[in-house]
Amino acid sequence: MSRLDEGSLQRAIAFLAALGVGLAAYLAIAEANGGSPVCLAGGSGCETVARSSWSHLAGVNVAVLGIAGYALLLATAFFASDTARFAGFVLALGGFGYSVFLTYVELFKIEAACQWCLASAVLMTILFALCAARLIVYAGTAAAIPGRA
């Protein structure tokens, strides 16, 4: 049985992390401009969540933290070393855990569904799975040689 190609995992992580940066940037810019993100599917859930006290952590917009998290994850995808694999795993684990918590808050405390937040939670879940797979399969192996699977 052939192993998962680390290069493919890195590319998938880079792609999803870049999507995450874009998504979080949209949310951060929407608030910075004094407005709220617009739910494409309609409804006011995005505005409600953005206006809630949960949208900030220690005074920092959660979307800004999201940009930083996704950007760091993106960076780990460019290196095939144990440090990058482990850092990617820890970042994705933290992002996944926080996404689970925020989704709970959104649905059961704020009682509103923001499709952008849910999309980010799905992205982070997939990233966590990919980073975990990368670490489990490739931890302890030498850096991949460019051009080789």
């Binding site: 409804g43 809630s52 144990d82 482990f86 996944f96 855990g97 489990i136 302890g140």
Partner: protein, 234 residues
């Protein structure tokens, strides 16, 4: 360190980190769930009485009664005002039961915030409930759950959310979003009351075919006085 040792060490640390992260998330959720931020554990009194009082009477925005009723009784009130609460429980129910239920009159509640800034937040919450047809239910329940003026309860999110829930607001998310947009309307009606010369709450005015535009009633002290004013205006 060999490749196998390094791999084993990394995976052990990763497993530990995963365990700690999951435990942290569960603890966070448990702490958040036990908080009162959603108003779910705030006890609201008078739900049954208010439901019975308003049952079957149309609520449209902040107007209670048949929108086509010839006479419109306008109440300028402050949700923190204990006298207004007294009117809500002692003076107005008889009018709702007779003239409003029969379609002879409708009552329009307008915010006149004179007690403090908390009243504006409460008034905006009532208007947001009114946007979903539950304005009067919200106002009546607020009056029945008043605390000391400007003590921090009237603009407390958990309290207002619990009231909205008890009032039957269907979309609490929309209600929450609407509140911020309603503060301007609260200021408008407060200014309207001042322009009419009112300086206390509750103050009443009436519109009707025989009222000659808008007639100021001030603060009639009995149900009978308000009933008579409605009769005369219609």
């Amino acid at each position: 360190m060999s490749e196998a040792d390094r791999r084993s060490r990394l995976l052990r640390i990763a497993a530990g980190a995963t365990f700690l992260a999951l435990a942290a998330v569960l603890v966070l959720i448990a702490i958040t769930a036990s908080g009162s931020g959603d108003g779910g554990d705030t006890e609201i009194e008078g739900k049954a009485a208010v439901a019975k009082l308003l049952e079957g009477i149309p609520q449209r925005q902040m107007t209670l009664g048949d929108p086509k009723a010839a006479v419109e009784l306008i109440e300028f009130g402050d949700l923190q005002c204990p006298t207004c609460a007294g009117y809500a429980e002692e003076i107005l129910p008889a009018i709702m039961e007779t003239q409003v239920r029969k379609g002879e009159a409708k009552i329009d509640f307008r915010n006149f915030t004179i007690i403090g800034p908390e009243s504006a937040a409460a008034g905006a919450a009532a208007l947001a409930a009114a946007a979903q047809g539950r304005g009067w239910s919200f106002v009546e329940l607020f009056y029945r759950n008043q605390s000391a003026e400007n003590s921090g309860y009237a603009d407390d999110d958990a309290f207002l959310r619990a009231l909205a829930r008890a009032a039957g607001v269907a979309d609490l998310g929309r209600w929450d979003a609407d509140r911020a947009r309603m503060t301007g309307r609260v200021e408008e009606t407060s200014q309207e009351a001042k322009n009419l010369g009112f300086d206390g709450t509750p103050s009443f005015a009436i519109k009707g075919p025989k009222a000659g535009g808008i007639k100021l009633l001030g603060t009639p002290e009995t149900t009978g006085a308000l009933e008579d004013a409605i009769e005369e205006a219609g």
